[in-house]
């Protein structure tokens, strides 16, 4: 008879249950990240940076060195940590608002410079913490707090394709993938490869995770899964976009 919850070892158990809403995708992304850190055995070397927005609620999530930064500025802060201490494994964790809207210039420039850091981005199609406003990733026709009649692409454009953009501007050695919380095992493998890419010092690694926001979507469990599994992948294709070439033995 087991007595202890089966949490990843890198999770900080005394802060659980965590602060995310019931059914939030962040828990699953961070579970995949925790499992990846456990499997690589790098917990003592990880520096975890989280953004503003719902992702900041992960500031005490892991038993690793953590830093919480200004909106979208997680990427440069973590880049600075990596430059000062190249032996650390630096992870920037953010949402789609922080990564694609307010902090997009940092993401673009860090990717263009091919900084040796790992960026993990949870995409839930809206700004969760402020009450579900339209984000760059909101789908056409999607009703949000600021688009009550559905997002009109004529006025507000089409959803940002983050990994496609990052894979276009990065050089060889970068790792870019898009996972989904509907397939935690695949997501864990992507995150593990992204961390491994940083351990080997190849270049920038970026993983976007399609994630759910039942609170602001106003969906029950069934509709949440339907949105994540059926609606979102129509615009956001899941898979690896760029992987470093295998070194010849």
């Amino acid at each position: 008879m087991s007595k202890a919850p089966n949490m990843p070892k890198s999770w900080r158990e005394e802060t659980k249950p965590h602060k995310f809403c019931p059914g939030c995708g962040h828990g699953l992304v961070l579970k995949a990240l925790g499992q990846a850190i456990d499997e690589l055995g790098i917990q003592d070397r990880v520096v975890f940076g989280c953004d503003i927005g719902c992702s900041l609620l992960s500031f005490d999530f892991f038993n690793v060195d953590s830093v919480q930064t200004h909106h979208g500025r997680t990427t440069p802060v973590v880049t600075g940590v990596k430059r000062a201490r190249p032996d650390r494994i630096c992870i920037a964790y953010m949402g789609d608002g922080g990564g694609y809207a307010i902090g997009s210039q940092h993401l673009v420039n860090a990717a263009a410079r091919n900084e040796k850091i790992t960026v993990i981005l949870a995409n839930n199609c809206n700004y969760g913490m402020t009450g579900g406003q339209m984000a760059p990733t909101s789908l056409p026709g999607m009703k949000t707090e600021t688009t009550p009649y559905g997002r009109d692409p004529e006025v507000t454009g089409y959803p940002t394709q983050g990994p496609e953009m990052v894979s276009a501007i990065t050089r060889e050695g970068a790792y870019v993938a898009r996972g989904t919380v509907a397939n935690v095992r695949q997501l864990k493998n992507y995150i593990k490869k992204a961390l491994q890419n940083q351990v080997e010092g190849n270049g920038f690694s970026f993983v976007e995770a399609l994630s759910g926001c039942p609170t602001n979507w106003s969906t029950n469990a069934k509709d949440t899964w339907a949105f994540i599994e059926e609606t979102m992948p129509k615009y956001f294709k899941v898979g690896e976009l760029k992987a470093p070439a295998k070194k010849e033995e």
Partner: protein, 83 residues
């Protein structure tokens, strides 16, 4: 470690022991939708937010696949397969 503080809801099913930590379950219901045999349902027991927790409604149906444990964002479910 606060492990022992979590209350447990254990169901002995045919193929596995289903353990739910009510101090972690927020009652989101994601697991009930992912259960391949649709046996996971709302329980009389309450979770950490005072909302219903989950348990297998028919213990014989549970195959112990561990899907519910995998999709739980809070790691509230543990499945121990019987040998």
């Amino acid at each position: 470690m606060t492990t022992s503080a979590y209350k447990m809801l254990q169901v002995d099913t045919k193929k596995a022991v289903f353990t739910l930590f009510t101090g972690l379950c927020k009652g989101c219901g994601l697991c009930t939708q992912k259960c391949p045999v649709k046996t996971l349902d709302w329980s009389e027991t309450l979770g950490v937010y005072g909302t219903p927790a989950v348990q297998p409604k028919n213990a014989d149906d549970c195959t112990g696949c561990g899907m519910c444990a995998m999709v739980c964002p809070d790691c509230a479910i543990t499945i121990e397969r019987k040998k």
